[in-house]
């Protein structure tokens, strides 16, 4: 691999990182907190690539041999030497050409629901609001680990996507949670009562009330919600909770 191509690859990869981190696209892959680091490393890669390219062009103009590097150096890189750098074009192509969507029903269907047990045994009361917006993870934790105590009598607003229930029919209102990146996504599922079927990955906003009847005190329990209103919405800019 020539040093020219090496530098172009650096610029392309840095450009791909900048492209996703300067818009909301990066939220499909990693957490919000990664944004500054993606921008910094994107800039570093672009600058590094441009510096290397400038060096090559300067050397070419002065007709001097390019100082170390490239495939000139003799150490045994074997098959995978800096030639492995070609592979970096794969994520570049994936980002620029395909821009894969946020994970959805396919991933959620493959796992059980996960309700992480909160550190505090008794949940604090819900904030004011009628209906009050609640994340699926919060709703599930209150329903499963606190017996729905803080949810009783409240109208809650929940946003999630449809994951068909392959075994029992119907569907789960679902949201995925990332800890670091999409490879570690875990699902929270809630079972809405008496709703018509919807296609997988449809985003909906539900207003409803907690009803008892779901399993409790188990981290794969699926709580229930009685639906007062349901409307289809566009996917939020951050698909994860």
């Amino acid at each position: 691999m020539t040093r020219e191509i090496q530098s172009v690859i650096l610029v392309l990869l840095g450009g791909a990182l900048l492209r996703i981190s300067l818009s909301d696209v990066y939220l499909r892959y990693v957490k919000e907190g990664m944004k500054p680091w993606l921008i910094i490393s994107g800039v570093l890669l672009v600058v590094g690539g441009l510096l290397a390219l400038a060096e090559v062009l300067r050397a070419e103009r002065q007709k001097i041999a390019v100082l170390p590097g490239g495939d000139e150096h003799g150490h045994a890189h074997g098959v995978g030497g800096p030639r492995s750098a070609w592979l970096l074009l794969l994520p570049v192509a994936a980002i620029f050409l395909v821009a894969p969507p946020a994970l959805g029903a396919f991933t959620a269907e493959r796992q059980t629901s996960t309700v992480i047990q909160p550190k505090e045994p008794a949940a604090p009361p819900l904030p004011a609001g009628d209906p009050v917006p609640v994340t699926l993870a919060d709703y599930a934790a209150r329903a499963v680990w606190d017996d729905g105590r803080t949810l009783k009598g409240r109208n809650v607003e929940l946003v999630g996507f449809v994951t068909p229930n392959a075994k029992g029919g119907g569907w789960y209102l679902t949201r995925l949670q990332l800890t670091c990146c999409a490879a570690d996504a875990i699902a929270t599922k809630i079972s809405p009562q008496d709703v018509k079927d919807l296609p997988a990955n449809t985003w909906v906003q539900i207003v409803g009330q907690w009803v008892p009847g779901g399993e409790i005190n188990a981290d794969d329990a699926i709580p229930l919600v009685k639906v007062t209103s349901l409307k289809q919405i566009a996917q939020p800019s951050n698909a994860y909770e």
């Binding site: 191509i5 570093l44 800096p82 395909v98 396919f106 670091c180 490879a183 570690d184």
Partner: protein, 327 residues
Amino acid sequence: MTTVDQPAQKQRWRPGALEFLTAAIIVLLIGQRWLIGLFDSPALQAGATIFVSIVVQATPFLVLGVLLSAAIAAFVPPAFWQRALPKNDFLAVPVAGAAGAILPGCECASVPVAGSLMSRGVAPAAALAFLLSAPAINPIVLVSTWVAFPNNPMMVLARFVASLLTSVIMGWLWLRFGKGEWIRIPRRDHLVGHSNWETFRLTATHDFLHAGGFLVIGAFTAAILNVAVPPEAINAVADKAILSVIFLALLAVILCICSEADAFVAASLSQFSLTARLAFLVVGPMVDIKLISLQAGVFGRRFAQRFAPTTFVVAVLTSLAIGAWLL
């Protein structure tokens, strides 16, 4: 490499940056529609998302790692390491292992740093102990483990002890049985520029391109396996004592989850015993597909072939012992 005998090397046509960019733009224009059609299936889409997200998540850490390792190569004189580490290699191993606690990053950063340490004269056994311990016992990882296991604070201690122990055992094993010819210590002499700054820049660029390619192989494999392992398989072995430990250790190898996040995934695998989940947490930062690929790239395939399986066995045995003692 075929150009060695050609005296007139300069005249041979090579695609330059311009030709290369033109080709890239053509592919971009005609390829997009076809490619998007190809990614219609939900499984392929999920696989592509996981592939991109592993690369995107790891790249800043890899950048940090190569900057650190380039700084070591360019600005820290070799004499520093001779003073900082005990002369006796046997003692240097635990010291280097414990020093891993101060590199706040995940496993992608530690591979180039360990390579740089070796080429600056640190004993390979000590650098390897550092390579294994750094991603597992740093404060960020320990805090996230503490948050993920609210009811089992002993998990943090168990993870710390088992990871440090595994890395020290591996360092000593290398000292006793390791052969110099198995490992390719990254050579830096061709990356020495006219000034420290130039050396820094050349080393960082070279290391990034080099390791980056291997990161891509690892992320690609992990994405395929992530989508292909049937979820029923996971529940089927959960209640088998020893089998479940080995199974979760293998799952850690396959999933390639960043060490700063793996505790939350381990917490969600609640159908498994705590010891099995400890094995998941100890093995993950030390042996996983993207890491094996990175190690093969930096230290050579002969190294990775021996080092990764041995680390796996030692990590599983250590987890069993520490799990029985502490959990």
